[in-house]
């Protein structure tokens, strides 16, 4: 009964279809929000800048990818390239003197344009073949970025990002950069929460379940797939730009290479398809876990007095990480988001579990 459903009577449709109809959810969201806002004082500066902030940005990007993968059911193996386009466009924009906000939006729009081109090429097929064609497009983008010095920034292929200026104000403090990231992440999250309740969201789900069938009931599947690609590309592009401005401070081709695409994919799948909270879990899992396992293994080795070489010590966490991905998929193929939902469903009726049966 932690999530109390009994005794809640919605007297109008608005209340019934509210984002969080259950009070405890509302409370939890409130607490999380408060924690998010107070983070600069709650977390150590290390945790804030190296864990929380990048996590939020990657979660936003994962949400964007989840829009295509989870909601619209279309593969995208080239999402990192899309993020890279946003990042490069925004950095070049700011360097050319465009105000930061506009440059970031431009980055998003450029990503959208390229994303739509992707989509036109890729959406003629589906399933595995869509995955492969987007993967091929990722390679094309990688090639273009690293072979056009005007984009990549010369021989050493790094492009310094100018200082972030929000509304003309320089933002350099840890807290300031964090709030920019938080703001974007919240924006994307609220957008995704609302998407579930709109006609667009439902149409996407229809397309995902069976696009022919969706067409039969009057959903233009190609149009909606295109919209999904465009929207998600915009989110990806802006996330890429924000990642560079707040976290990397410089943009290089490797930051958006094919393994990053695969990591993003892993975030979404391990987190849970079409699960918003899952995207947060997934981003944390993929992004933060390897480093943490690293320390855990080193600590355990020291504790047991085992003398493991520095090299072996580095490979074990990688192995554990692979095993964990396999494990999550075996235990709950719908990902961490579903695991959370299972717990929540259990608690919904706890302690009256039999009410379900």
């Amino acid at each position: 009964m932690l999530f109390r459903q009994a005794g809640i009577f919605h007297t109008d449709y608005a209340a019934d279809r509210a984002m969080f109809p259950i009070p405890l959810d509302r409370w939890m969201v409130g607490v999380l929000l408060a924690l998010g806002l107070a983070a600069p004082w709650v977390f150590s500066s290390l945790a804030l800048t190296s864990y929380v902030m990048p996590w939020l940005i990657w979660a936003a990007a994962a949400l964007g990818l989840n829009l295509i993968l989870g909601w619209a059911g279309q593969f995208h193996f080239g999402y990192a390239a899309i993020m890279g386009i946003g990042a490069y466009t925004a950095v070049h924009g700011v360097r050319a003197g465009i105000p930061w906000e506009i440059a970031v939006v431009l980055g998003g729009l450029m990503a959208t344009v390229v994303g739509i081109v992707f989509a036109f090429a890729a959406l003629r097929v589906k399933g595995l073949y869509l995955a492969l064609s987007t993967l091929a497009l990722q390679f094309v983008m990688d090639w273009v970025i690293s072979h056009v010095p005007a984009i990549s920034g010369g021989v050493s292929a790094t492009l310094q990002a100018p200082t972030l200026r929000l509304l003309g104000q320089q933002v350099t403090s840890e807290a300031g950069l964090y709030y920019v990231a938080l703001g974007w992440c919240l924006f994307v999250t609220v957008f995704m929460l609302n998407l579930r309740r709109t006609a667009l969201g439902r149409a996407l789900v229809a397309v995902r379940e069976k696009d022919f069938a969706a067409a039969v009931i009057g959903v233009q599947s190609f149009y909606y797939k295109l919209v999904a690609f465009a929207t998600s590309s915009f989110i990806g592009g802006v996330s890429g730009a924000i990642l560079v401005f707040t976290f990397y401070h410089a943009v290089t081709p490797e930051q958006f290479s094919v393994n990053v695409s695969i990591e993003l994919l892993a975030m979404v799948i391990v987190g849970g398809l079409a699960s918003i909270i899952g995207s947060y879990f997934g981003a944390a899992f993929i992004l933060l876990l390897p480093g943490q396992i690293n320390q855990l293994v080193a600590w355990t080795a020291k504790l047991m007095g085992a003398d493991i070489g520095v090299e072996t010590l580095a490979h074990i966490p990688q192995m554990v990480y692979g095993a964990l991905i396999i494990g999550v998929l075996l235990v709950e193929p719908m990902g961490l988001g579903k695991l959370y939902a299972n717990v929540r469903n259990y608690l919904l009726v706890w302690p009256f579990g039999y009410a379900r049966k």
Binding site: L46, S50, G154, S156, Q160, A250, E311, Q318
Partner: protein, 416 residues
């Protein structure tokens, strides 16, 4: 009664203070090696870490640097910028001032932060070449030659071989098609224009293991010299393909990243005649290595596999950390304890003709020049060992300098 209580307290306070002083005296100098130990750079990083730890043990046995123990912190970042930054940020907050990343993507990602924070980033033999411009890259210390300098020296060697004229000579450049491989091209192009040799470029897409078509082209074009910018297994493929295409081994000049593992994979006899741009002396004749063998491995106290000592990358690690430890020694000697990044910087910049007892060409680091001279030499594999083919040389300083200035100016312009 009361008096005793006070005196006890005073005694305790004094004891604590004394311990604090003792602790301060014993406080170590810490070096953070945020390395890629699990993905792309595993062919070199374990040897370097092992060398750094071994040398630190040797020094620590003698009391460390100016009485301060050395602590080597090695952490894996898997060649991912995100985790490299995490490693840097974490250790920075724990008070580490000297960092070493040894991975192009991570170096690029960490560099802006190091510059902003004013910490020391060691980048010997790796990372961006323009960082030797000490005016712009105040906190970056790529002591040793850059790739630009190395390739210029290769050309100088070829020029000497042809008795001073490169007219009509054909030089092929085989490189993996990404930043590391592309880097020497501007210098090569400039030199081709000024010296009049014909430059042929042979890009090889990553992962670089499939070079059949490439060597067919090389055999057709038949260059007089082939400079390769390969890494680990790419060398093996290249050497085997040369054999199969009937290209003589002695035409080959490799980048410095070519070690005994590669030789073994090619076959020691097969590799005979090939040359390497060398910036660290290989072999175990060096007194330091002899000492390490005796004091550490002889007693089973080594920091890893004894086999790794046969590897030139181990020597490379020793060279890198000889330079770093010497810089820190100078820093403490000049500025005293506690260390600050500024003191370390000053210490590094006062290295004069330091050659790590003959491991490297002597380097002289100044505030302007963080490279230290950029000397390399050409070694040849004679079937059993590397034999020097030239002195330590540093050629075409003006050309290299020009590229460095162009690149660093670009960085200076945009990092504001």
């Amino acid at each position: 009664m009361k008096k005793t209580w006070i005196s006890t307290l005073a005694g305790a306070v004094m004891l604590l203070a004394g311990q604090a002083a003792l602790a301060q005296k014993a406080e170590p100098v810490r070096f953070a090696l945020c390395y890629d130990l699990s993905k792309a750079y595993t062919f070199v990083t374990p040897q370097i870490v092992q060398a750094a730890k071994d040398y630190a043990d040797i020094l620590n046995a003698k009391g460390g640097i100016q009485g301060h123990k050395i602590e080597i912190i090695a952490q894996d970042h898997g060649n991912e910028p995100q985790r490299g930054i995490e490693c840097y940020e974490k250790l920075k907050r724990e008070g580490v001032m000297i960092f070493d990343t040894l991975s192009t993507p991570v170096s690029r990602a960490v560099l802006p932060r190091v510059m902003a924070d004013g910490n020391i980033l060691l980048q010997s033999f790796v990372g961006r070449g323009d960082a030797i411009d000490g005016d712009v890259f105040k906190w970056i210390f790529p002591i040793g030659p850059t790739y630009w300098g190395q390739v210029a020296n290769d050309i100088q060697y070829i020029k000497n071989y042809h008795k001073g004229s490169l007219k009509g000579v054909k030089v092929g450049f085989v490189y993996p098609d990404y930043a590391f491989g592309q880097e020497p091209i501007p210098v090569l192009k400039t030199l081709a224009a000024t010296e009049g040799f014909e430059l042929q470029l042979y890009p090889n897409p990553l992962p670089g293991k499939d070079q059949a078509a490439l060597w067919t082209q090389v055999r057709r074009a038949n260059p007089d010299w082939i400079i390769t910018w390969n890494l680990s297994a790419m060398h093996v493929v290249a050497a085997k393909e040369m054999k199969r295409n009937g290209i003589p081994m002695d035409k080959l000049i490799s980048v410095n990243w070519f070690n005994e593992v590669d030789i073994n994979n090619i076959g020691a006899a097969e590799a005979k005649g090939m040359k390497r741009g060398t910036n660290v002396v290989g072999g175990q004749n060096h007194p330091l290595i002899q000492q390490i063998l005796k004091d550490l491995y002889g007693k089973g106290k080594g920091n890893g596999d004894r086999k790794n000592l046969d590897d030139v990358y181990y020597n490379t690690g020793l060279a890198m950390y000889s330079v770093a430890f010497e810089g820190v020694r100078l820093a403490i000697k000049q500025g005293g304890w506690p260390l600050t990044p500024a003191k370390i910087k000053a210490g590094m910049e006062s290295l004069r003709n330091f050659d790590a007892n003959g491991l490297i060409a002597p380097v002289t680091v100044t505030a302007k020049d963080h490279g230290g001279g950029g000397k390399t030499r050409i070694d040849m594999w004679d079937g059993t060992k590397w034999t020097p083919q030239s002195d330590w040389i540093s050629a075409y300083g003006d050309v290299v300098e020009k590229v460095i200035k162009e690149q660093s100016a670009e960085f200076a312009k945009t990092s504001k």
